[in-house]
Every structure is written in structure tokens, then in C-alpha cells.
Symmetry: C2
Subunit: 260 residues, 2 copies
């Protein structure tokens, strides 16, 4: 790319849009934020720089080198339908783990995906340079441009086509969303007995520390790992509903895995 700052428009004002635009603003020129809610667009634009504009109309999109779409999965396709033809020569990327690159039709000459493997909350200062980005482009030149774009934020950039990106998203659902739900179940069990969830934090920290020095497979402990069917039956008798079904399914799956 040329020796001037890259001009970028951000479509979206949610958590991903916020973190990406903040991180990119250090090295690129974030021209404009689009959001269907103009107040949200303005709020994020103000965060970025005094010159960053805001709009709620696809027709008013600024002339940029790159357009990054970070809206809800369902909203990507309908937004793209409103993009003026004059903007379709630029590089267009979306940031979704689960939407195929083919959501861009052929009128978008250079298109691709920039998927950050992270869970984003508003108002949290993430170490963006530790995040892995999975990228895909409509041709080699486009892929290289997206690689450069990701490199503005992190050195951990991997190529992944839409199929592989979906697999990675599934892995992230297990590692992040489902583990979080395990924490919810355990916190509810403790709270029912007036025990603060904080008693579990050293255990949780040690569990995640272990997997980084060995592997999750080798780190497995607990009644199911020992095939301790007496304890498992004992625990099942104390559970009901979804928690019981989850305990049973996961314990059987662990027993099965370590039989092999």
C-alpha cells in the first residue's frame, strides 16, 4: 500500500467495531463510523478523533480505502445491499466468524474477512496485539492487503478460508461461551448456599494455567477422569434439569475419551 495513511470507514459501533477502530486509529485514518443509530456512531467517532465523522446513511459513506463491517451477522447482507456502486472498488471486509466470504457478491471487487479471535466487551482495554486474526481475501492481492491491515494490530495473523474459520469459531464457542456457562452453573450452585463465587477463582486460574504449560487433554482431572462412577452417581442424584443432563453427558464423554 502507499506511503500515506490508510483511510478506513467502520460499519458498526458495537464491541468489535469499537476495539478494532480504536486499535487501527493508531496507524490508520478512521474517516467515519456508520451506525443505524446515529448517536452510537457519533459516540464512537468522538472516541476516535475530532475529525472522525458519523453517519447513519449508507449513501453518505465517505471515500475510503477500506470498509470494515462489524455488525450483527444477520445485518451484513442487508447492509451490503445499500452500498452505492461508487464505493465498491475499495477493499471490503467483515469480521464475523460464521459468515462466509461469499456474502459479498461480485460487485465488491476486493472483499474478504478479518476475524479477530476474541470476546469483546465495551470499556475493556484488551491487549489487541495478542489477538489472533484469521483472514481471507477474494484474491491474493486482496488477501495481502487484509494481512497488512491485520498487522497494524497484531502479528498473529493466520490465513483461513470460510470453512476453516467456521471450525475456529466452533472451537471458540467451546473454549469461551461454553466454559463461561459452566462458570454460571457453578456460581449458581454456590450462591444457592451463600458461598461467594470468588472461592472458585484460584481453581479456575490454576485450570487455565495448567493447559498452557501442558495440554487440556493431559490436564483433565475429576471424578469422570478417574471413572469414579460412585461419585458421579452421587453427584447426579443431587442435580436436576439441564444441570443433571449436562453433568451426565460430559462425564460420559470424558470417560469415553480416556478409555481410548
Amino acid at each position: 500500500m502507499e506511503n500515506r495513511k490508510l483511510k478506513i470507514c467502520i460499519i458498526g459501533s458495537g464491541n468489535v467495531a469499537t476495539h478494532l477502530s480504536m486499535a487501527l486509529s493508531e496507524k490508520c485514518d478512521i474517516l467515519q463510523i456508520f451506525s443505524h443509530k446515529i448517536a452510537n456512531a457519533r459516540q464512537l467517532a468522538n472516541k476516535i478523533s475530532p475529525t472522525c465523522a458519523a453517519t447513519d446513511s449508507a449513501k453518505e459513506l465517505a471515500d475510503a480505502d477500506v470498509y470494515i463491517i462489524s455488525v450483527k451477522d444477520d445485518a451484513i447482507k442487508s447492509f451490503l445491499g445499500n452500498v452505492p456502486n461508487s464505493k465498491k472498488e475499495a477493499l471490503w471486509v467483515h469480521t464475523s466468524g460464521s459468515i462466509a466470504r461469499e456474502v459479498f457478491d461480485k460487485s465488491f471487487k476486493q472483499n474478504g474477512v478479518l476475524y479477530p479471535l476474541q470476546t469483546f466487551s465495551k470499556d475493556v482495554n484488551l491487549k489487541m496485539n495478542e489477538i489472533s486474526f484469521f483472514i481471507e481475501g477474494s484474491d491474493i492481492n486482496t488477501t495481502n492487503k487484509i494481512h497488512d491491515l491485520a498487522n497494524f494490530i497484531s502479528q498473529h495473523v493466520y490465513y483461513a478460508n470460510s470453512e476453516l474459520r467456521k471450525e475456529i469459531h466452533i472451537a471458540a464457542v467451546f473454549a469461551c461461551n461454553f466454559t463461561n456457562f459452566m462458570y454460571t452453573i457453578s456460581s449458581e450452585i454456590l450462591e444457592r448456599h451463600d458461598i461467594p463465587f470468588s472461592v472458585l477463582i484460584p481453581l479456575i486460574n490454576e485450570t487455565t494455567r495448567k493447559i498452557t504449560v501442558t495440554s487440556p487433554f493431559l490436564s483433565q482431572t475429576g471424578p469422570a477422569r478417574r471413572s469414579d462412577k460412585k461419585i458421579i452417581a452421587n453427584h447426579l442424584a443431587m442435580l436436576n434439569g439441564d444441570n443433571k443432563a449436562i453433568y451426565e453427558l460430559l462425564s460420559n464423554a470424558i470417560i469415553e475419551k480416556y478409555k481410548q
Copy 2:
């Protein structure tokens, strides 16, 4: 307790026995390690101090103030059957999350439980003073003694009867064992595509960081949290066997939980 160092015998030489005896040896006199495998007993005894003895015979147990049993759940009862009557006046505790205090019959005058809420691996230097201990004693005097004993290691000591201790153990199974299994599933999905598990570490760290500043319930993200049935169906079509069943059950449980 008196102003001299407390004399302790440790029954067991596994991970829990090792960490507890090392931590207690700073303030107590660890007289002896018992293990059915004398080599294991000697190895741990040598770690503790030059004067710490080793035995593989219940008849040769030293005269101690406290006996701490950290053996496999199934082995507690049979070991207790071999304890000489002369040792039964002392304080006896086991460290299991799932075995009731009543595993001690009435011939053990002072008995109880000292359950550390942590996952122990050999050769890991844990911050033992951060661990929560859940204790129970056969009478108030005994409970107080066990409280003092736990306080040698950590200030986080809670009273829990056997029923509550089981609930806490179940919470720990969800928060530690089952989350670890989620990591195993995600690592296997990634490895199948030659992607290192390390790409997930920032995501995992952020997931566990979030729950400490807000709550697991409020931290939940992902397709199921958004009731995004299209993505869920899409993911399910890419999974099979236990992983598919787990994805489906957990997604439905999350959808159900956030409907309420």
C-alpha cells in the same frame, strides 16, 4: 492448641498430600508420611525434612497430634480399618470433597474434614494461601482445631457440612473439570486443522478475567446467548458424536436460561 509445634502424620503421597504437607511443614512438624508404596512415602518425606519418616504400615504410625488422610476416596475407609486404637485419640481429618465425615466411625474421637478447593498437580508451586478450605469437625472443639490447622495455610476457611461440601465439589467439577474438557474439545478441533491451541489463550484469559469483574451470568456471549439458531444449526451440521450432543445440549440450556 499448645505453644509447641503441632505434630502431623500425612497418610498419602499424591498431589494433595504433597502440597498440603509442604505448606504445613512451614509451621508444623511433619513427623511421618504413610504410603502403601514405601518409595513414594520416602520420596515425599525427603522433600519435607531430613527428620521426616516414611512408613507403609498403619501399625507403625508415629504418635502425632493430627493425622491427615489424603488418599483416593475409595481407599479412605479401608485405611481407617487398619488404624491402631492407640492412635484414635488424636485429631483425624480427610481431605476429600465427596466423602462424608461419617466415614470415620465413633472410635475416632475427634474427626473431620479439611477440603482444599483446588486442582493439584505434582511439581507446581501453587499459592496455597489463596486456596479456600472447607472444614467440618465432629464437635465444636474439633472444628476449631481444624480451623486453626487450615489457617496455617490460608485465611480463606469456610465451614461446610458434608452435604454442602458435596455441592461445592459439584460446582468445582463444572468450573474446573468440565471447562477443561471444553478446552480439550476446542484444542482437538484446532489441531485437526494444524492450528495451535495457543491462538485461543487470549480468548480464554479474557473469558476468565471477565467473570471476576462482573459475573459469569452477565459475561455470557456467543450464538446461543443471542439465540442465533441459524449459526447453531450451521455449527451442529459440522459436528458429530459427543461434540455434537454437547454443543446442542449446552446451546439449548443457554437459550433456556436467558429466556427467563
